[in-house]
Symmetry: C2
Subunit: 201 residues, 2 copies
Amino acid sequence: MPKPHLTFWYEFASTYSWLAAERIEALAAAADVEVRWRPFLLGPIFVAQGWQSSPFNVYAAKGANMWRDIERQCELMDLPPPARPEPFPQNSLLAARVATALPEAARPAFSRAVYRAEFTKGQPIADRVVIGEVLRDCGLDLAATLAAAESTENKSALRAATEEAGAQGIYGAPSFVTPSGELFWGNDRLDQALAWAKRES
Amino acid sequence: MPKPHLTFWYEFASTYSWLAAERIEALAAAADVEVRWRPFLLGPIFVAQGWQSSPFNVYAAKGANMWRDIERQCELMDLPPPARPEPFPQNSLLAARVATALPEAARPAFSRAVYRAEFTKGQPIADRVVIGEVLRDCGLDLAATLAAAESTENKSALRAATEEAGAQGIYGAPSFVTPSGELFWGNDRLDQALAWAKRES
């Protein structure tokens, strides 16, 4: 019988994707579920919904409470206090392209390091210097990875991933999808998604 | 020292307010926190945000996944499977006026019974016959309660409650507010809100 697995769809500009990226490996290991990390871009999906920015900017009260909630969750999760990058949301295209280009095994550590730069140091993740430092800290080859990230093939792969996410009914991040297509939205559904993936296998 | 308390802001048209209404009394009793049930109307707050309907209707993928999620949560909570009322969202004005007019002690049972009529039987809660049946099942006086609900004073009280919710930064339902003003949004934050209320007292 194949090991149960769960696809983790994440967006680098998303605060709750960050929290999920911090939690998912330990929880998945405890549940004995394999996780497939799939970066995608929420921007095109939001634009199709009629938003020109994050709903946390479009709706001020919602945005204010999101930041307060992230502070509370960081405290509960023993994470450093969050830093708000300027602007928010960050342009996540470069980070998503790099994550797409990396071998799957390198994605979790790279992705978490990007999130830490962005949301605990407030660094601009669209900046090649910032991404370069993250790559170096992860022991990854800077020039080769950036070249792969910006190849025509890799750009198409990220576009295809975003289209695949939309086709699966994804409308926000993080989202979790089981092999049968069961879709769970939001960091708060991670535990239920893992349990469902286990039940399916 | 006063007993810790938490204000539970709920909207009768909201599916996740229903789930919170089903859970809150047992969880609050276990945490030894007193709950203040405050019905309000999300409609005016949504209109101020630029929505003419529920975000679950405005964004189709989000709406589809919400209903699927409610099915899953009902199963996990041992609730009957949900029935979707037509139209969704229901006009909740009459139910909110009645809940506002009732003595606080009568609100929880009445509110839960309205939610069950709406979301497990799919009944139209704007219908005076449906609300009348709920009142009767709760052992409440039909004519006197409806008269109180539709008094000028009570209508003003509900308008004031909705304005108070907005002034506290509330942008969705359910929301939970501690005495110090700490705001938690969503059924998934109920446990954290109770813990916070306890810490404050």
